[in-house]
């Protein structure tokens, strides 16, 4: 790291000092219980960072360093990836429409790169497409992009040189452009979606993968590494999703509320075109901005609805043992394989909970302990913690349900009273 860059990073951290504290809290916590409420009306990238650059005269100056990064996607899985400014995705670049921005790009990768400002209508020579609109940025070089920010909205940045490798390795980030003096929502969250192919027990994502993506990340994290979002009942919440994964579109589903898509990377969606949803599909190469006003307090899941996208490093092509009577086979194999355990005969729930030894640096089937029991989901799963009121900055912890508002076993009396016949009742 050069002194210049360290200076730059500390300036960045100062500009978004609150993020630092939230990040530290998130890392210190073992479980995924909701953290601190944090300030309102500021842009927040859970597990990520927001970079507002710094003013030099009338120009906003950013510095992106493309470089190899050691990245933890969740405790137990650390990857060797490529990113910007020490992370993947890179920092959210926050800027205002109409201002002049100058973005320096230093290439510390072993190969050339370029940066494309996805969705932003900039002069053609600033579009960042190696070969077509510029020469590639060679390793070791620092290049300069400069343009006047044309439109407000949510955009993305990523290389347009060896796209398959560099994006598979994590080179991407979000851009948020505000109107001058625009009204802000109470909560403004920003997520970059990516997908990785990492053989359990390895550290390097496979850039050649086309279908076996087994690590699906929100801002570079899988559950339980994902930091929950926080909102109070009645607050307007905006969540911006950008998807630069290689192959997969993601139906992102919110529990406990109704939402509308208010903008894409092409601009705002006209009011007349908006419709109520609980799930929004975020296709590859697009941005979807959704807004909602939660009315019910609780810990509400937010997740991709593709079931394989809420599993981390799931094995495939295994013998299907569901419904098979293992008979004496378990004991038979244990004679020669003492650690053997018959698995999958009744289903696979709670497998991650058993804490059996798995290949080092891997999270197969891992979820996390929840307030009631083990949460089997991993991958693209997080929580929107909605509370009646948010006061102070103390950690929220799990939602405390009002007496009698949680599902429970039915009593014999209740069953009898409602005429529901059951053969037996499990304890």
């Amino acid at each position: 790291m050069t002194p210049t860059r360290r200076d730059f990073l500390s300036a960045t951290a100062a500009a978004s000092g609150l993020l630092g504290s939230i990040l530290k809290t998130g890392l210190a916590q073992a479980g995924p219980a909701p953290g601190r409420p944090g300030p309102r009306k500021v842009l927040h990238a859970p597990n990520g960072s927001v970079d507002q650059g710094r003013r030099v005269g009338r120009v906003r100056v950013f510095h992106l360093v493309a470089e190899p990064v050691t990245w933890e996607v969740a405790p137990g899985l650390v990857l060797d990836v490529w990113g910007y400014n020490g992370r993947t995705p890179g920092p959210v670049l926050e800027m205002t429409r109409g201002e002049r921005v100058r973005i320096y790009v230093t290439n510390h990768l072993p190969e050339s790169t370029s940066v494309h400002w996805h969705g932003m209508i900039v002069p053609n020579g600033m579009d960042g497409v190696a070969g077509l609109t510029q020469r590639p940025i060679p390793p070791g070089a620092t290049w300069r992009y400069e343009f006047v920010v044309p439109d407000a909205g949510t955009f993305m940045y990523h290389p347009h040189f060896d796209e398959m490798t560099q994006m598979a390795m994590g080179m991407m980030g979000m851009i948020v452009v505000r109107e001058p003096n625009e009204p802000r929502p109470d909560r403004d969250y920003c997520y970059m979606i990516n997908e990785w192919s990492v053989k359990p027990g390895t550290r390097k994502p496979d850039p050649g993968a086309m279908s076996d993506f087994n690590v699906l990340t929100l801002n570079g994290k899988v559950f339980p590494g994902t930091e929950p979002m926080v909102a109070a009942v009645g607050e307007r919440v905006r969540v911006r999703f950008g998807n630069l994964g290689a192959m997969d579109h993601h139906p992102i589903h919110f529990h406990g509320l109704s939402l509308q898509v208010t903008a894409t990377d092409g601009g705002p969606v006209p009011l007349s075109a908006r419709q109520p949803e609980t799930t929004t599909l975020v296709p590859v190469g697009t941005v979807r901005v959704v807004e909602m006003v939660p009315s019910e307090p609780g810990d509400w899941p937010v997740h991709c609805h593709m079931t394989h996208h809420v599993m981390t490093q799931m094995g495939h092509g295994l013998p299907n043992l569901l419904g098979v009577d293992p008979g004496g086979t378990e004991a038979g194999l244990q004679r020669h394989l003492p650690e053997f355990m018959a698995m999958g005969h009744t289903g696979m729930g709670g497998m991650g909970e058993m804490n059996m030894a798995v290949p080092e640096n891997s999270l197969p089937m891992k979820g996390a302990a929840g307030p009631f029991s083990y949460i089997d989901m991993g991958g693209m799963f997080t929580v929107l913690a909605v509370r009646a009121r948010l006061e102070g900055d103390a950690p929220l912890g799990w939602y405390q349900h009002p007496e009698g508002s949680v599902a429970r076993p039915a009593t014999h009396e209740e069953l009898a009273a409602d005429g529901v016949a059951v053969i037996s009742q499990a304890p």
Partner: protein
């Protein structure tokens, strides 16, 4: 006359010096003990019985009931092996032949009685006693020949002894290894029959295809066939041990003791190839035998040269008495005149035989040196292979199995793949047992060579080639 009596006396003295059967046997036994550390036991009394003596049978029963170790089997074989007694009787027989060869020819008495006409009184008597003088002159030569003959028998008895020790050790190595291999094969049979069971249970509830199920059954069947083959190898190895020790009938109910071949049997003695080669040549029994043959041929040359000019010479005393007259006494002699047969053919033949035996000795020494280097190389190669399998292959397979278990825990691989890895680990252990056997067998051959005997590689004690049992791809693992 006086000289004649002195010669007779000397020959009697020499006769007294001929080694007794017991002393010959003792010298062979001492040599055997020096070479192998085991005692040689000559039991002529067993020959009449045709069966082991009572004491021996008790010893056998005790040794067999506690289980046979490698050295236990050697002890038993040395006490009991009929083939060894055959060689020892051969030695006894050679010793008899030796005494015969060095004994002088007995005197010959020729006599005649002449009756005169009727009423002419006492008949005339003519007697002469002659001795083959050449047998005295040739005493040293005969002795050299007899020495050589006895030496050949002595060497053969020793060779039989060393060979028996080595062959029993090799056979026990084969047996102990075959038993370990059978254990691993049995484990593979149990594992694959369990996965075949699991597969059929999957089939019942519609979770796998007919083809997948057939494959698992074939894998299990292949493993079972391999297991039965391993069992047959054990039975054959037992038969070899029983043949060498001479176990029959009830004595064939026995077991081994101690499990695995002790790994120190594969540990090479710290030696250089050169030192080992010298040692093998110095102690070689086959070279001793060749040298004895040279001695025999040299003695034969002396004999034929002497006989060439003097095929036969008898000297003695003649006595004659005519009627009642005084007895007349005078010297007697007889000789064969070398007129028609000058014996040059026999001399040439014996000289050629001598040269031939000398050449054979040289050739044998050269071949022996080559064999010694071959043994040394084979011991080194097989020991290194054993160490590599032990220190590298087995730990690798073990670690891979541990990783496979972790992958199974994470549901990254299934039970069938896990069992495949276990089978691969067991196959590595089989390879280890076989590599240990090969290294230990090479050491046995090296040891035998240092005791004087280079075993033929294709000899009765050779073991089945590793290709039959050590190839993991034949394990039926269905990788």
């Amino acid at each position: 006359m006086r000289a004649l009596i002195a010669t007779l006396a000397a020959s009697v003295t020499l006769l007294g010096c001929a080694p007794s059967t017991t002393s010959v046997f003792t010298s062979v036994a001492d040599d055997a003990a020096r070479r192998t550390g085991h005692r040689l036991d000559w039991r002529p009394e067993d020959a009449q019985e045709g069966l082991p003596g009572v004491d021996l049978a008790r010893g056998l029963a005790r040794e067999l009931s506690s289980g046979l170790t490698i050295e236990g089997a050697v002890r038993l074989a040395l006490r009991n092996a009929p083939a060894l007694q055959v060689e020892l009787e051969q030695l006894a027989s050679a010793q008899g032949a030796y005494s015969q060869a060095v004994a002088p020819t007995n005197p010959e008495l020729h006599g005649s009685v002449l009756f005169h006409g009727e009423g002419h009184g006492t008949p005339g008597v003519h007697l002469d006693v002659t001795m083959d003088v050449l047998s005295f002159v040739m005493q040293a030569t005969s002795r050299r020949g007899a020495d050589a003959g006895l030496e050949v028998s002595r060497v053969r008895a020793l060779s039989a002894f060393v060979r028996l020790v080595a062959e029993v050790r090799l056979a026990m190595l084969d047996l102990l290894t075959a038993e370990r291999v059978l254990e691993k094969r049995t484990a593979i049979v149990e594992l694959t029959s369990t996965t075949a069971d699991l597969s059929s249970r999957m089939r019942v509830v519609g979770n796998n295809t007919v083809a997948e199920d057939l494959n698992q059954r074939a894998v299990a069947l292949q493993a079972r066939l391999d297991g039965e083959a391993a069992q047959a190898v054990v039975l054959r190895a037992r038969l070899v041990v029983e043949r060498l020790i001479g176990l029959t009938g009830e004595a064939t109910v026995w077991k081994t003791r101690g499990g695995e071949v002790p790994p120190d049997r594969a540990a090479g003695v710290n030696r250089s190839a050169g030192a080992f080669e010298r040692q093998v040549v110095e102690r070689s029994l086959s070279l001793d035998e060749r040298r004895a043959e040279v001695q025999l041929a040299a003695a034969n040359v002396d004999r034929t040269q002497l006989h060439r000019f003097l095929p036969q010479l008898g000297l003695g005393v003649a006595v004659e008495r005519e009627g009642d007259a005084e007895m007349d006494l005078g010297p007697a002699f007889s000789l064969t005149l070398p007129i028609f047969n000058l014996g040059s053919g026999a001399v040439d033949a014996s000289a050629a035989q001598l040269r031939r035996s000398q050449q054979a000795l040289t050739a044998a020494a050269i071949e022996l040196r080559a064999e010694a280097r071959r043994l040394w190389v084979e011991a080194e190669v097989s020991r290194r292979r054993f160490e590599a399998v032990r220190d590298e292959l087995v730990p690798l397979r073990t670690a891979a199995l541990e990783e496979a278990q972790k992958a199974y825990n994470g549901m990254l691989i299934g039970a069938f793949a896990l069992v495949d890895m276990k089978v691969a680990a067991l196959s590595a252990e089989i390879a280890l047992s076989e590599a240990l056997r090969d290294a230990a067998a090479a050491e046995v051959r090296v040891e035998a060579a240092r005791q004087g005997l280079v075993l033929r590689q294709d000899g009765a004690a050779s073991h089945p080639g590793p290709a039959e049992t050590s190839n993991p791809s034949s394990s039926g693992a269905g990788h």
